[in-house]
Structures are given as C-alpha cells and as structure tokens.
C-alpha cells in the first residue's frame, strides 16, 4: 500500500499568531512576530514567550468542559474542531469506528502538575485535585479528542519532543496506508509555558535573552539570533486516503507524499554537527514520495533561532537539496511550539503549496554569513510542487514530511 496518496482535507490552528487558519496565515505571511514579555514569567531569568492571544476556553469549549482540561488539550480540541469542519465532515454522521486520532505532544500538562504540586505542598495530599491525572497525562490529548468527536478508531499520542507534531502526521499516514482507519485527526499540541519548564529551558541556554526587544527575539537564520522563544498552541490536519476523498466529493488541499524519520544517536540536546540523521530523514521522505532532491521547491525549516540548529540545518539543506529551494522558518512569527510545531508547520506547508505563496521568516534582518541557503524574507509567490517540513527534537529525533500539491 502506498503512502503517496494521503490527502489533507482539513486544517485547524491555534497559535500565538492567532486562532484559526486564516488569521494565522495572514499574520505569518505578514512576517508579524508574536513574542512578548510574559507576566507569568516575571520572576524567571527569561521573561519572553509567545502566547495564544485572547484564548477563552470557557467560551470556546463550555465552562465545565474547559475546567477539566489542561491548556494543551483545550488548544487541540479547538484546532481539531476547525479541521473537521473545514474537511466538510460531520461528526453526527461519520463512522467513528473508522476515525483515528494521532496527536503529538512533548510534555502533557505541566501547568496542571505545577499547580497541583503547589497545593500538595501548601495544603496536603487530601487537597490534590482528582482531575490531576486525567488532565496532565499526555495520552489524554487523544482520549479527550475521541470523547469530544466520537472517534473510536486507533487513538494515541506520540512523543518525540519538538518533532512530535510531524511524527504524529507521519504515523497517521502509516495507519491510513495500512487501512487501520479511514480518517485520522493528526497533529500536535503543547502548553509548556510554565515557570518551572521555562526555568529549565533557560538553564539549558536554549532561550533567547533579548529582553530589551522581545518581539525581535525569534529570528531564525539571523546573524544575531541567540536562542528560541517558547510558544504554545495546536495544529490539527484531517488526513484521508485520496481515493476516499474523491469518493465523498471532498477537496484535497495537498498530499502527505512522504515521511522520513531517524535518530541522531548523538547527544541529548545538541544536533549532530554533520546533520547525518537529518540527511537520512530527508532522503527517506523523498524516497517515500518517489521524489528527488531537485524536486523540492520549498522547505519549512525547523529553524528554531538557536545558533546551533539553524547553522547545522542550513548546512544539511545546502548539501542535500541541490535545487536550492526557498527556505523559511515560520517560528520567526509563531515562536517554537515544541510538540505542536511539526503539525503547525505542516499546516503552513499545505497552505504554501495550495496557495503558491512562501511565507517569510519574520525578524530576519541579516542572514548569518555562515548560512548559505535561500531564505524568504518577504511573502514570495511561487508555484511549489513539493515542500519539505522539518522537525527535530531533543534526543536527536528527526521527522521530515514531504508535502505535495494536490
């Protein structure tokens, strides 16, 4: 069974660039950064984050429902609802047994854990919420999605850190190719901006410390980049086999033509300097898509704005993709959405091939002189037949999606 015919029929986004696909696309194509000082982090060494604006879970999901959901699950349900609607699917009439859910997440619900830990230390165990586990466990992302939409097919959460969202989409494609279900809600979600988690990231030296100009902190490939800006949010895609899409008269927005996965087996946080794992994942994705490096017109890079990632990734892209595709990192606008990044960026890649427009890399003023790839600094109209979306996680987990025009 070939993976080549996996269609994307629905899209949903909740990110610091907006709630909904169109507001996101407008903000990202406009190169609008979303990073700002975060009042929650006022006591932290790094106080910059990218937050979903005006997110009212009680309004979007109902007060009772929202109360029992950690923020990462709230994001996913809102994004999934948009994706299902945009796919022209109706949960009242679909065959739920043939609907799978594969979502990626790095951390689960650290917000709930930290809140309840405080209650434990201040009031004792009898005051801990009975909802702690159902709210914070990572798998609940998929479980709650099943409950919300009546999806009773294969149901799981994948964890590959910052590659989780992409790994989820690749895994979902595999399920469809194996006929384990007919529709998959695939994507990722993350809400890791908590004082403890951010202190951890800060201690690792991973975050930008541009406190005097937070809006400009996330600047992938820029000569003055100094780390990533943590973001939050969710991206969900509806995937179906292309035959089924045609049979129900739905429109394929794009195709997931290929997926490549590998491990660096090098270091817990530092990418392999030669990028051999990334190269391997790229070549796998291309082989899966029946494509050659020269076919790639665009790359939505991992492009986190860290000194090391951007340099190493650019080197691999230069070496492997002879056709000099137009590269961008949408993390300049959205920040780094961690486990959701791969899914959010898959959505942007779909929009790029669908609309023939490559979004710019926000905040890129001066390309790092050691970086020798073509990076978009303005929204660039271009017909793209095949795009790659890269996501690399701590632990050396690499996921590359090949997104083709429908």
């Amino acid at each position: 069974m070939s993976r080549h015919d996996i269609a994307v029929t629905g899209l949903g986004l909740v990110t610091p660039s907006g709630i909904g696909v169109e507001p996101n696309w407008a903000a990202v194509c406009d190169g609008r950064p979303s990073a700002a000082h975060d009042p929650l982090l006022k006591d932290n060494p790094v106080r910059i984050s990218c937050r979903v604006p005006d997110f009212e879970p009680a309004q979007l999901l109902g007060g009772r429902r929202a109360h029992r959901l950690d923020r990462f699950t709230q994001f996913a349900l809102v994004a999934a609802r948009e994706a299902i609607t945009s796919a022209g699917l109706d949960i009242a009439t679909w065959d739920g047994a043939r609907v799978g859910v594969v979502l990626g997440c790095a951390a689960g619900g650290p917000g709930t854990v930290e809140e309840q830990h405080l209650i434990l230390t201040e009031k004792g165990p009898a005051s801990v919420s009975p909802l702690l586990l159902p709210m914070q466990l990572p798998n609940m992302l998929a479980g709650q999605t099943a409950i919300e939409f009546g999806a009773t097919g294969p149901n799981l959460v994948v964890a590959t850190a910052c590659a989780s969202g992409a790994t989820a989409i690749g895994t979902a494609s595999d399920l469809l190719a194996l006929d384990r279900c007919d529709i998959v809600l695939a994507g990722g979600s993350e809400a890791m901006i908590t004082p403890l988690v951010m202190a951890g990231f800060a201690q690792m030296g991973a975050l930008s410390r541009r406190e005097d100009d937070p809006a400009a902190a996330s600047r992938p490939f820029d000569a003055d980049r100094d780390g990533f800006v943590a973001g939050e949010g969710a991206g969900v895609l509806v995937l179906e086999r292309a035959d089924d899409t045609r049979a129900r008269g739905a429109r394929a927005r794009a195709r997931v033509a290929g997926y490549g996965a590998s491990a660096d087996a090098h270091h817990i946080t530092t990418p392999h300097p030669e990028g051999t794992g990334v190269e391997s994942a790229i070549r796998s994705a291309l082989a899966d898509a029946g494509a050659t490096p020269g076919d790639v017109g665009h790359v939505n890079a991992h492009g986190t704005s860290t000194p090391l990632n951007d340099l190493t990734e650019a080197r691999v892209l230069r070496r492997v993709l002879a056709g000099a595709p137009l590269v961008t990192s949408t993390k300049g606008a959205t920040g780094h959405l961690l486990g959701a990044a791969g899914a959010v960026e898959a959505v942007f890649s779909v929009l790029t091939v669908e609309r023939g427009l490559v979004p710019p890399t926000a905040n890129l003023r001066t390309l790092d002189p050691h970086i020798d790839i073509d990076v978009a600094t303005a929204a660039t109209p271009r017909k793209i037949g095949l795009a790659l979306s890269n996501s690399f996680g701590f632990g050396g987990q690499n996921a590359v999606l090949a997104i083709a025009a429908a």
């Binding site: 009680a58 007060g63 009772r64 929202a66 109360h67 029992r68 009031k123 009898a126 005051s127 919420s129 009975p130 909802l131 159902p134």
Partner: protein, 75 residues
Amino acid sequence: MFENLKEILVLKLKMPPEHIVPEATKEDIELDSLAAVELSVILGERGITISDDELLEAATVGEMAKLIESRSTNL
C-alpha cells in the same frame, strides 16, 4: 445551604447555573465520581467533613444540600 452548594458547583466546578435546581440528579448536572471528590475537597477546606461516596449517595442536589447542612459545624 442549597444556595451555598449551588455557588460552589457554579463557581468552583464551573457547572451551568440553570441546571442546578433542587430536583436535579447527579446525571442532570454531570456530577461524576471525580467531581464528587472535588466537591468533598472544597467542603473539607470549609470545615465540612463529608466523603465523595456520601455525596454520591444523595439522589438529588437538594438532598445533597441537606446532607451537607447536617454535617456543617456552626462556624
């Protein structure tokens, strides 16, 4: 006490106020075992000792309020 219970259910457990009437059953207000524990914890913080099991034995919200009242120490 019914009004106190309703206030807790609405403000702390985020239940829709229009559903909370004395005749409402647990199912009517979606008070599952987890919510019963939450309620028990909140009441405990207000000096009222009553277990989640006991709360779940009440057939209606009105009966639950009466049960809670019978456990209240006059503060």
